[in-house]
């Protein structure tokens, strides 16, 4: 071996800045060299030095309190803890799988800027520093502001960090165009109906008094498939305790499998059933007259209105025998007030009908006298913790929570949001932001932030969304994984996973209201950053630094916690602070307070405010839209091991459930010649094709509809496990019906036909993909 120059050659590029010689070498564990990596020392993580820290889960948005175990610098296990009212020591499969998302090798790693001149969606990027990325964004935002005004930048957000990206930053920047899919693509009708009936929202954790109820009627509510941890615990405990269960669903859901009565209702006719129940309760005078007399307004109008909705009328519509309708109504009444019809979460089903259905559901509950009573709906409010002292934002924080608080521009100089006037409610409607990006009406939307929202797997009419993205001057995606929509962005900002970050306090409206905190268990991997940091740094670049007067999140959290006599340090030791609630009307009456924040102070059957707006003051049944013949109504729901479209690259969860299948009634399958587990295509009424997807030939569904679980069918090659498996319901949703009350998008007005004979895509096993992924 020879080297021309005796000296050590020095290359400046060899200084990476990753490692440095520290102060002292340790005792020699590995004298002489490095241990052979192919023989890692044996040992189980739980035999090592395990430390734990508190967090709350972000695998779905139920946000259960969890304890995170770290060993050897790596998160090994997460668990619930007993002191937390949401997890109560337990976690669902998705929560349990959190470490597999943090250590997903397909994660976004560095800020990326789309290569100049390349097309959106072509996926050509260059690496950038955070500073450079922020400069790029700020420059574009200023240009949009100067040409179109601040309102022309829209924000969409989902997840804990959406407080920053769908509320705070838009409020500071000055745009009312901030929205969460969790409103108009999920809960909007139930919230609008709730506010206008009870004077209170539902807001997040559905306040069902499971622990006290004796009789439960679920209307298409997929408990057990949407594994909302606490709800599932209480539901299962109620059943074990002997509570009776009735399930109304076109599909024999998991919950239906636990029911004493399954009513396989014709899809889109639930409102007729609910109205008939109102009819029976009133006609047979088995409603809670005392409760109705004391707490409600408009009963006379309701009684008169409901007289037309006889069980026989409903039978013809719902295909549920009138006798059954009567029997269930009588059973409910016999168990009242400990009989409850829980409100579901995702209720944007048929659009025009949704708010009517939700109000009718609430009315049955009121007639049973259960609202604010043990065994019915309890009353709850979030605990109050002061905000960090900062100047007032130019515009009220925009999108609100699941409840979707109103965004009123009021006297401010800002233009109202682009969806204003399309519906009665005041929360923004995320899907209504898309059209203005294309048409420029009522004014152009030229910039978009997508924080944690999978806009191709939530907003219907995916092609329209893509078209809209092409019209933008700036599209920024903040995410954890290279989802398809992320790889369309001009700037991609990698967020760290929740196990690697602090977040704002979570203030939970619950039977026992509580406050929970999230602490990072490990340092962020790669160059990923938490949402609070991204929002603040970007805010400073945008000249909005005055609204971010804290140096770091620790200072911010500590200051907020000090307002309730706690501190960040104390919170690190306990994770959760539980408050006392006032769950029942009696608790409020003792304090001489009225929980119902309606104009009348009563529970309102008849809504003057709807009447004034030219809407129906009482719920009505509207004939459902019908599909073309030979097509099935496309229903969708959840897999218990997945959340929306965001967990489909998690190796552990994908091993549990690696592709969805289309549920098709056995007799329909025989007619079509489709066999069980055969691959088929789904083609919707507008000719959009999804698949290949397996047929699940089953007795568990009616003949007039098919069902798939949501979130599959990713078209994102960077997500090696998720890509190309199963079919996407969202891509088949090429039409929706806007709920004129809430702005919700009714998504179940899409029909598909089954096209047999799709080729077997020969999907590799998840184990095989995991192996191959490491071998490039």
């Amino acid at each position: 071996m020879k080297l021309g120059r005796r000296d050590f050659i020095k290359l400046s590029c060899a200084t990476v800045g990753a490692l440095a010689v520290g102060s002292t070498a340790k005792a020699q564990l590995f004298p002489g060299g490095f241990p052979n990596p192919f023989r890692p020392p044996p040992g189980k993580w739980f035999e090592g030095d395990v430390t734990t820290s508190y967090s709350y889960c972000e695998m779905c948005f139920w946000k259960c309190g969890m304890k995170v175990s770290v060993e050897g610098g790596k998160v090994r296990k997460v668990d619930g803890y007993l002191e937390n009212p949401k997890s109560r020591g337990m976690l669902c499969p998705r929560g349990q799988a959190a470490p597999a998302t943090t250590y997903d090798p397909d994660r976004l790693k560095k800020p990326l800027i789309r290569v100049e001149g390349s097309e959106r969606g072509a996926g050509q990027y260059r690496e950038a520093s955070w500073d450079e990325a922020f400069d790029y964004i700020a420059e574009k935002m200023f240009a949009i502001r100067d040409e179109h005004g601040t309102e022309s930048v829209a924000f969409m957000g989902h997840g804990t960090g959406d407080e920053w990206f769908a509320s705070y930053l838009p409020g500071a920047w000055g745009t009312p165009n901030a929205a969460k899919p969790s409103v108009s693509l999920c809960t909007a009708p139930r919230e609008t109906a709730s506010v206008y009936t009870f004077g209170r929202g539902i807001a997040g954790h559905e306040q069902i008094d499971w622990d006290e109820t004796d009789y439960i009627v679920l209307i298409g509510h997929h408990i057990g498939e949407d594994t909302h941890n606490t709800q599932l615990q209480q539901f299962a405990q109620a059943l074990t305790r002997g509570a009776k269960l009735v399930v109304v669903d076109p599909r024999f859901s998991v919950a239906a499998a636990k029911a004493k009565d399954w009513l396989p209702i014709k899809p889109a006719t639930d409102t007729a059933l609910l109205l008939a129940w109102i009819n029976v309760l009133i006609e047979e005078e088995i409603y809670d007259a005392e409760y109705v007399e004391k707490y409600t307004l408009g009963f006379e109008q309701l009684a008169e209105h409901a007289a037309q909705y006889t069980p026989e009328w409903a039978e013809a519509i719902t295909e549920i025998p009138a006798d059954t309708i009567r029997r269930i109504a009588r059973e409910m009444a016999a168990h009242a007030p400990r009989a409850v019809l829980p409100v579901g979460r995702h209720v944007v089903w048929y659009g025009h009908d949704d708010s009517h259905r939700m109000r009718a559901l609430y009315f049955v509950n009121i007639l049973l006298g259960n609202y604010g009573m043990p065994g019915g709906y309890y009353l709850c409010d979030a605990p109050i913790v002061d905000t960090f002292p900062a100047p007032e934002l130019p515009l009220a924080p925009a999108a609100g929570g699941c409840g979707g608080g109103p965004v009123e521009v009021g006297d401010s100089p800002f233009r109202p949001s682009v969806d204003r006037g399309k519906f009665f409610g005041t929360a923004t409607s995320v899907q209504e932001f898309i059209e203005p990006m294309i048409t420029g009406e009522p004014y152009p939307v030229k910039g978009l932030f997508a924080y944690g929202v999978n806009i191709f797997h939530s907003i219907p009419m995916v092609e329209r969304t893509k078209e809209a993205l092409r019209h933008l001057d700036l599209y920024v995606a903040i995410d954890i994984l290279p989802m398809e929509h992320v790889m369309w962005a001009d700037v991609i900002l990698p967020e760290c996973t929740f196990l690697e970050r602090h977040d704002d306090l979570n203030l939970v409206a619950h039977k026992t209201p509580f406050i929970q905190a999230r602490f990072p268990a490990v340092e962020p991997m790669y160059d990923s950053k938490p949402a609070w940091w991204i929002a603040r740094e970007l805010g400073i670049k945008l000249g909005l630094g005055e609204y971010f007067p804290w140096e770091n999140i620790e200072e911010y959290l500590d200051r907020r916690l000090s307002s309730i006599g706690s501190s960040l340090e104390a919170m690190a030791e306990q994770g959760t602070i539980v408050r006392r609630g006032r769950p029942y009307i009696a608790d409020w009456e003792r304090l001489n307070r009225n929980p119902f924040d309606t104009p009348s102070g009563q529970l309102e059957f008849y809504s003057e405010r709807f009447a004034e707006a030219g809407l129906d003051p009482l719920p009505v049944f509207i004939d459902p839209m019908e599909g073309p013949s030979g097509y099935y109504r496309l229903l969708y729901g959840r897999s218990p091991v997945h959340t929306f479209a965001r967990t489909h690259n998690n190796a552990v969860l994908m091993e549990m459930d690696s592709e969805n299948s289309v549920w098709l009634n056995t007799r329909e399958a025989e007619r079509l010649g489709v066999s069980h587990r055969e691959y088929v295509y789904l083609e919707n009424q507008d000719g959009v094709v999804e698949g290949p997807v397996r047929a699940n030939v089953t007795e568990r569904i009616r003949q007039d509809c098919v069902y798939i679980t949501h979130g599959y069918g990713h078209k994102a090659p960077l997500m090696k496990l998720a890509n190309g498996r199963g079919a996407s319901d969202t891509h088949l949703q090429t039409r929706y019906d806007l709920d004129p009350y809430s702005g919700g998008a009714g998504l179940r007005n899409n029909w598909v036909r089954i096209v047999p004979g799709a080729p077997d895509p020969q999907h590799k096993s998840i184990a095989q993909l995991v192996r191959e992924r490491s071998q490039a």
């Binding site: 189980k44 993580w45 739980f46 035999e47 090994r76 296990k77 997460v78 668990d79 619930g80 020591g89 337990m90 976690l91 669902c92 499969p93 998705r94 929560g95 349990q96 799988a97 470490p99 597999a100 408990i223 057990g224 498939e225 594994t227 941890n229 599932l232 615990q233 299962a236 405990q237 059943l239 074990t240 024999f252 998991v254 919950a255 499998a257 636990k258 399954w262 396989p264 218990p640 091991v641 190796a651 552990v652 969860l653 091993e655 549990m656 459930d657 009634n665 056995t666 069980h676 089953t698 007795e699 568990r700 569904i701 009616r702 096993s765 998840i766 184990a767 095989q768 995991v770």
Partner: protein, 195 residues
């Protein structure tokens, strides 16, 4: 002496797989093999249906067929009744995998057989197995059969009916299924084929 056992209340179980995922992380079970899985089976015709959600894992039999066929003594029954494996004695002959009537055993990529061990490391600390702790439906009970006050003994006494998997083989499982939803007990036993 004690006899550690588990009972799963099928009336409560919704087959959500939280147990399976918890097990995966707790025991670092490699992707591709499982210690615990969920079998959901539906019988009947529309609209008269029964769906059974059944978690399955090693049953820690009192008369385990996997133990006597082991040529090295690496498969054994502990004093507390947990059927265990000593990986450093395993030659990977798979005789125990062949003998297990419940598909509970798998070959670990590191070259030894592995399976559910009732989270013996947690049991040693007085904790419950990871699957029991995390279950949102509280369908699992665990404890010592010889202790009449253990969770599992109480659950067994309170059950409407108790079923065993493949009882005809005489394995004496110590994992009991309570309150099976179908009138005749567990569905999908041998002799019935899926169509």
């Amino acid at each position: 002496m004690s006899r550690m056992a588990m009972a799963i209340d099928l009336a409560a179980c919704v087959g959500c797989a939280a147990c399976s995922v918890a097990c995966k992380h707790e025991n670092e079970v490699p992707i591709g093999v499982n210690r615990l899985w969920i079998r959901n089976t539906t019988i009947g015709t529309f609209p008269n249906l029964v769906t059974e959600f059944r978690p399955e894992q090693c049953l820690h039999c009192e008369n385990p067929p996997c133990v006597p066929v082991c040529p090295t003594g690496c498969c054994f029954v502990r004093a507390d009744g947990i059927v265990d494996i000593e990986p450093m004695k395993c030659i990977g002959c798979s005789a125990c995998i062949a003998a297990c009537p419940y598909d509970a055993r798998y070959m670990h990529p590191d070259g030894y057989v592995s399976k559910c061990d009732f989270c013996k490391h947690r049991v040693a600390k007085g904790e419950l197995p990871a699957c029991v702790t995390t279950c949102p439906t509280l369908c699992r009970s665990f404890g010592d059969l010889d202790d009449p006050n253990s969770d599992v003994s109480i659950a067994l006494r309170g059950a409407r009916r108790v079923d065993l998997l493949r009882p005809g083989l005489g394995t004496g499982p110590k994992l009991y299924y309570l309150n099976a939803p179908a009138k005749f007990g567990l569905v999908g036993e041998e002799g019935q084929r899926s169509s």
